[in-house]
Symmetry: C2
Subunit: 123 residues, 2 copies
């Protein structure tokens, strides 16, 4: 089973912000190469590739299962409505591919530990 991870960010008019996401994606690709055959990024708006385009590319590369991870801090409209709608449409388009929408990164209880680590505190 060829698994893929798609990191989905909001997208910015600032190229540097989008490049930050792409750089993070490359670091993830190095760390998670045993878990995922392909690791790519996509953007909800303002940058390329879009989420549907990102999924299409992964399918064309041979991905059979895609984990979509929203790189968002809070469950606003984008996380609660826009991204699920897009993913549902992609899942209908590629019914032979398993597409899992994961929880947005700010929604985890691990965020507390992450921030403590940033501040140099062990908990």
């Amino acid at each position: 089973m060829k698994r893929a991870l798609l990191l989905v960010a909001h997208g910015s008019r600032r190229a540097a912000s989008n490049e930050e996401v792409n750089a993070l994606t490359e670091l993830l690709a190095n760390s998670l190469d045993k878990d995922y055959t392909f690791i790519k990024s996509a953007f909800l708006e303002l940058a390329d590739p879009s989420i549907p385009k990102g999924i299409t590319r992964l399918v064309e590369m041979g991905a059979e299962e895609i984990d979509v991870l929203p790189y968002f801090l809070s469950a606003g409209r984008h996380v609660s409505e826009d991204i699920p709608t897009i993913i549902t449409e992609s899942a209908l388009q590629y019914s032979n591919v398993i597409i899992n929408l994961k929880e947005y990164i700010g929604g985890s209880s691990k965020m507390v530990d992450y921030i403590c680590a940033l501040l140099g505190k062990d908990v």
Copy 2:
């Protein structure tokens, strides 16, 4: 020395998004009570308290040193310009208080490990 942490988020028209930030702040307050006397949140826009108001409150509570942590994922205009400008103004206003602007949470190399942990992978 009474130290304070101010978690600074963007702010949303959705009350639920702002409440997520406040809930995270309460969890941080429990985890970091040995490191900080006060732990509060503030918002760049669209929600209360504003960043200057948040800093004023902490100073009035007796904070002598304030760590300001931008709860942002990328270094867009808000992180690179707006927040530093506000913090510089507050530092001028309260010259007897040490105000440290910390790196935004998406800027850490630890983000890779955090995401791996979310996906259930040890690195």
